[in-house]
Symmetry: C2
């Protein structure tokens, strides 16, 4: 059997395997990124018109495109509904962007760490990944300038607001500086914002695309983190030079996004009901974030450093004594605790040992302490073995 | 702006443009392939569990995979639920198969004509298309053998049952012969069957994949033609050597298919309610097929030849005096009638003039005669101009 060349780059998904192992009910899992079941809103279907069952437009439902454009304008993004493409979850934006830009060897700029599933999509298409180290307030600007001066990347893929996995929120200054650099070098920005609305602490986060003056851009988001991921409804907004190509790629990928999910999303976007739901969601997750912080202080203060995430679903821990955290997985699962190793979030995993991503949205607060205590013990055991 | 090399092969979709023009209410459209609005079944949502809103498995809902495997086994396809992948409409199967097999220059075998959106997907990824002429009972076997002897295609993509556009149903003999040839040369079969259930006249059509003894295969179908296309729920079944790769490609494409549509599809598959609906659907479309045949005899007997389709949604006309039917579109739209030119259904459009695809499912029978009369006049005018 002869497969395409790209299949040699199709990696088995470590996350899939961890999540499968973590499904045993006795496992306390910090591994996934699932919204809490209790916070899935009750939705109504009775009013959905029968005609929604028919084929739809590849662009998406006109009213939903209008609502998303209006929402984006309220964030400062100058755009029209004609620039909005409804996608089958924002993961699809990554697939479409890969197809639009990436040939084997095409250079792209990523944060280090970056979103694992984006990295996998870009690498599948053969991208040469240029990494920019992530600091607490955004990317290291000198490194970004150097990559732009020494290379000709097709785009920069950035997650400036509560990045999965690092939880970093770019500062105002870094947002401005990144926009200015991309304008200076004429490099397209793909700005991925699934976690924008999951904000627990005040602070500005105007999108970087709204600060661009010349560079092309794709801005992408989803209702998966705030409404229902099972709907598989996301969106992208693109500059007019990119939009027609993305639309044709969308049509070739799956004709159009399911209309049932689009209709449901439209029942929520921009409504008072949605605002109230978002507010509840933030309160709920803030409590879990705070409980996790307390438990981490108790069990991990000697083992790791971290910043308290101001939004999103994850803590990102840096071990004081680095080790390849992938080697901890088997021991952790034996102790019925699951976590996500940090290495796969880097284009060069082996050069970046010593990080853990811990989800705080899914596990109930009363099980937190026990789970973190077990995980800390697994790490201590590994340190002892390494020292022996 | 530097795009990937494949974007140079991303064609503007003629169908999109025709369908857009055909949306004016005064246009009588034979162009699309939409199910009749009146036959979209009324569906219930009240019993859908809230948990369906959560993220799901990339493979699809376990119960739906079981139901599809059982249905396939009843067609003679030896398979397990573990070989079933739920996709976002069967169009996605083409995207995943393109990624799995096609590098620029990869040879593949197609029927001539073949399904337009498949051709576009394969060509986007850079396939070198080897065409096998379609006859009334299936592909020309000598041509197929010759392609297999002289080339090393990655797969053969075939639509043996009521193909869009030609409406051909392969005979039993050709199904056996094709299976034997693919086994002999060890070439993977992708068998696409969206129209299997839309059958109006009796006759066997056991899938070709069920006749293979050695070759790998992907079998794909959808609920779009029989239930609701707006759900975007299709499936593929693949041999175990292909399945794990397709699953990872699915995950990279959009994580998983929307669960709301999957849940609804599961309420129908294998039920008495579904059988009754399919029976109504066949009766409804058979009446329209027969009305179209009468109207065609009246208006096109001197202009074209065709076979009466035994299933599917289309008549495929061969003009007695060939001309590039794309050149008829403007004149037809001026007369407020739309159709689909045949040329784009061939890998080499310019070498295959003189075919028209006419849909009979969407237009109401009382408007048929007027629409076909106008279209016939447009063709006669073109013949006169060409003769002048």
């Amino acid at each position: 059997m002869v497969f395409s060349e790209r299949i040699s780059r199709l990696k088995s998904s470590l996350i899939r395997e961890i999540l499968a192992a973590a499904q045993r009910p006795e496992v306390m899992s910090f591994a996934g990124g699932l919204p809490a079941e209790a916070m899935l809103p009750k939705v109504e279907w009775a009013d959905m018109p029968r005609g929604i069952g028919q084929y739809g437009m590849s662009e998406g439902e006109p009213a939903l495109r209008e609502a998303i454009a209006a929402d984006a304008r309220s964030l400062g993004i100058a755009c029209e509904a004609s620039q909005v493409l409804i996608v089958s979850g924002s993961q699809q934006t990554l697939d479409l962007a890969s197809k639009l830009f990436i040939d084997p060897g095409t250079e792209i700029i990523l944060e280090a760490p970056t979103y694992l599933a984006a990295l996998q999509s870009f690498q599948l298409f053969g991208a040469e990944c240029l990494s920019v180290p992530q600091e607490a307030d955004g990317p290291q600007l000198e490194a970004l300038r150097q990559r732009l001066e020494q290379h000709t990347p097709a785009f920069a893929y950035l997650i400036p607001t509560f990045q999965n996995p690092s939880a970093v929120r770019y500062s105002e200054a870094k947002r401005d500086a990144v926009a200015a650099l991309l304008d200076e070098f004429g490099v397209t920005l793909i700005e991925d914002e699934p976690y924008r609305e999951l904000v627990f602490d005040a602070g500005s986060a105007t999108p970087i695309v709204s600060r661009l003056k010349k560079a092309s851009w794709i801005y992408t988001g989803t209702v998966s983190k705030t409404l229902l991921p099972g709907l598989r409804v996301g969106f992208l907004i693109a500059t007019p030079d990119l939009f027609p190509h993305l639309l044709r790629l969308k049509q070739s990928a799956d004709l159009h996004t399911n209309r049932v999910g689009q209709w449901q999303a439209l029942q929520w976007l921009g409504t008072e009901k949605y605002k109230a739901h978002l507010s509840e969601l933030r309160d709920f997750y803030r409590v879990r974030r705070d409980a996790m912080q307390v438990a981490l202080e108790e069990h991990f203060a000697e083992l790791a450093d971290w910043n308290v995430p101001q939004g999103g679903l994850f803590f990102w821990l840096t071990l004081k004594q680095p080790l390849d955290t992938r080697t901890l997985l088997d021991a952790a699962l034996k102790e019925n605790v699951a976590f996500m190793p940090g290495e796969p979030f880097f284009a060069k995993p082996d050069e970046n040992p010593g990080y853990l991503r811990l989800n705080f949205s899914h596990i109930s607060p009363e099980r937190l302490g026990e789970g973190l205590s077990r995980l800390a013990n697994v790490i201590r055991q590994a340190h002892l073995q390494n020292a022996a």
